[in-house]
């Protein structure tokens, strides 16, 4: 079901109204479960298409039940291996083609995120962090929550369980207004900004892979523009989607976790990953990075090795995250690039601290010039590394790299970094100087202005959607 389809709105209205007919927990849970089933069914044209998903869920449930019976490391290890094998098989990874695949078409949407939910429950049941026995219906409501089904946010079961149809939902005027405002903002991002960026991206990107070559300078300019447009598209598409589902969540008594926290204000690559796709990076930190670093430090306890162990753990963690994003070799490159970014950042911090001492390094990182240069470098690195997501086939990827050469890549990187630094600096300066007149701020919070604002957003959505003639799809659905 596309987020911009009339069907989705009808479905949503039905779900919200049905949910509020009664306050009975059993009834509300039934509504949520049924909504999930209807949402998944909208992707199917034949009932057999859902069987692999059902089998994957059943396997997950068996593993969790086994762990409840026996909280042993062996059961956890066997369960994790079984789940991962099943996942890799169903996602048809190109590296494992030898194992064959199912001969009929089936639904793979949602699998990637269900994987994280199942693994997190298994680890937490094993460690005793999750003592509650999860019933099969609760398991379905959690793993297949239609709001998070396509692309997260990745919620923890413990947080889901405190709501799950039983939390009191006070839908007063301000809550409903806030929800609709958030949803409208999401659609502005999704239908206006992301779709326009996508339009320009689709128009320009073929020039990069055309055999009749552009001169190097022009090629770099086009590459910088295309890569930046894709980043704008990805961010506004994804964060717009999150605004929509988080907004709807408040109407259904669900407080979903945030996935973005102003990522483009990050002053380092490591900080960037604390602000971008946060629920995914937190999941990886909790369940892969931390245990991995702990294991490595137990084997090699010398404090002098800390940063090197960190580098190794960054490469492994981001490598796995890269492979999770897609099924071709370019996604391994994506993971390694992210690992390299995090490692360079970490080693730079360590080297600066050793050279300057903690206090002087901290003072340096707070100087204006350092902040904006660091912000530019961070974003430029991310923008170029994202190329892996829009050129996912290895032959095209290497072709583009060969055409750009080292000079082309470095040149583009410098241009994007400088452009972003300047833009961020100018924006911040303008913002600091802008003063809203007192008379304006008084009417800013009034009902009329609030609703005019909302209506304006809706008008803009309608106008741009008509102009573009294209309902955008959700980019992260593919991952």
């Amino acid at each position: 079901m596309s987020l911009t389809s009339p069907l989705f709105f009808a479905f949503l209205a039905a779900a919200v109204i049905a949910f509020h007919i009664s306050e009975s927990v059993v009834y509300r849970r039934f509504v949520l479960g049924a909504a999930n089933a209807v949402f998944i069914a909208s992707y199917l044209s034949d009932v057999t298409q859902v069987l692999p998903l059902a089998a994957f869920l059943a396997l997950g449930y068996v593993c969790i039940s086994a762990l409840h019976l026996r909280q042993s490391t062996l059961v956890l290890a066997v369960g994790v291996v079984a789940i991962l094998c099943c996942y890799v098989f169903l996602k048809r990874f190109s590296f494992f083609e030898v194992f064959g695949q199912l001969s009929f078409p089936y639904l793979t949407v949602g699998l990637s995120y269900i994987l994280f939910r199942i693994l997190h429950i298994m680890v937490d049941v094993r460690s005793g962090d999750l003592a509650e026995r999860i019933g099969p219906l609760a398991f379905f409501r959690f793993t297949c929550n239609f709001l998070c089904f396509v692309s997260g946010p990745i919620q923890r079961y413990q947080d889901f369980s405190t709501m799950d149809g039983k939390a009191a939902v006070q839908l007063d005027q301000s809550v409903v207004y806030a929800a609709f405002s958030r949803i409208a903002t999401g659609y502005v991002k999704f239908v206006i900004i992301a779709a326009t960026a996508d339009y320009a991206f689709t128009f320009l990107s073929p020039h990069l892979l055309q055999p009749t070559g552009l001169p190097l300078l022009k090629l770099c300019a086009v590459y910088a523009t295309v890569a930046s447009l894709y980043t704008v598209y990805l961010y506004f598409n994804f964060s717009g989607y999150m605004d929509i589902v988080i907004g709807i969540g408040t109407l259904l008594g669900q407080q979903l976790p945030e996935n973005f926290d102003k990522p483009f204000s990050a002053r380092s690559f490591l900080e960037f990953w604390q602000r971008w796709h946060m629920t995914l990076s937190q999941w990886f930190k909790l369940y892969l990075f931390n245990p991995l670093v702990m294991l490595l430090m137990t084997w090699l306890p010398s404090p002098a090795l800390t940063s090197y162990l960190g580098v190794l753990a960054f490469f492994i963690t981001f490598g796995v995250m890269g492979v999770w994003h897609g099924t071709t070799a370019v996604f391994v490159i994506y993971g390694l690039l992210m690992g390299a970014g995090a490692s360079i950042n970490k080693l730079w911090q360590v080297a600066c601290t050793e050279r300057l001492g903690k206090k002087r390094y901290r003072a340096l990182t707070q100087s204006t010039a350092y902040i904006y240069v660091a912000r530019g470098l961070t974003i430029a690195y991310f923008v170029l590394a994202l190329t892996c997501l829009w050129v996912p086939e290895l032959p095209q990827f290497t072709y583009l790299l060969a055409r750009l050469g080292v000079a082309g890549v470095v040149g583009t990187f410098v241009v994007v970094a400088a452009a972003f630094s300047m833009a961020a600096l100018s924006l911040d300066l303008i913002q600091a100087r802008l003063r809203i007149p007192i008379t304006l701020s008084a009417i800013q919070g009034s009902e009329i202005t609030k609703n005019l604002h909302l209506a304006g957003k809706m008008m803009a959505i309608v106008a741009v959607a008509t102009l573009l003639h294209k309902a955008p799809d959700f980019v992260y659905k593919a991952f």
Partner: protein, 79 residues
Amino acid sequence: MEKAEVYSKLTAVFQDVFDEDDLAITPHTTADDVDGWDSLSHIRLVLAVSKAFGVKFSATEIGGLKNVGEFADLIEKKA
């Protein structure tokens, strides 16, 4: 274990891990207040605390600590 005892032992662990002899901690101390307390040294800290107090921490506990106070409460509960 008494709270005071937890804090005195914990202070020694912090001073050792962050290599600062005059490092003082309060329940409100967070990673931002201690130079060099990042995701890597956090794991080193957790390992050192596990060893000093003879306790183990789960993935959620390691990732969910907000400040020294929460850490000390957790240790007090486990030790």
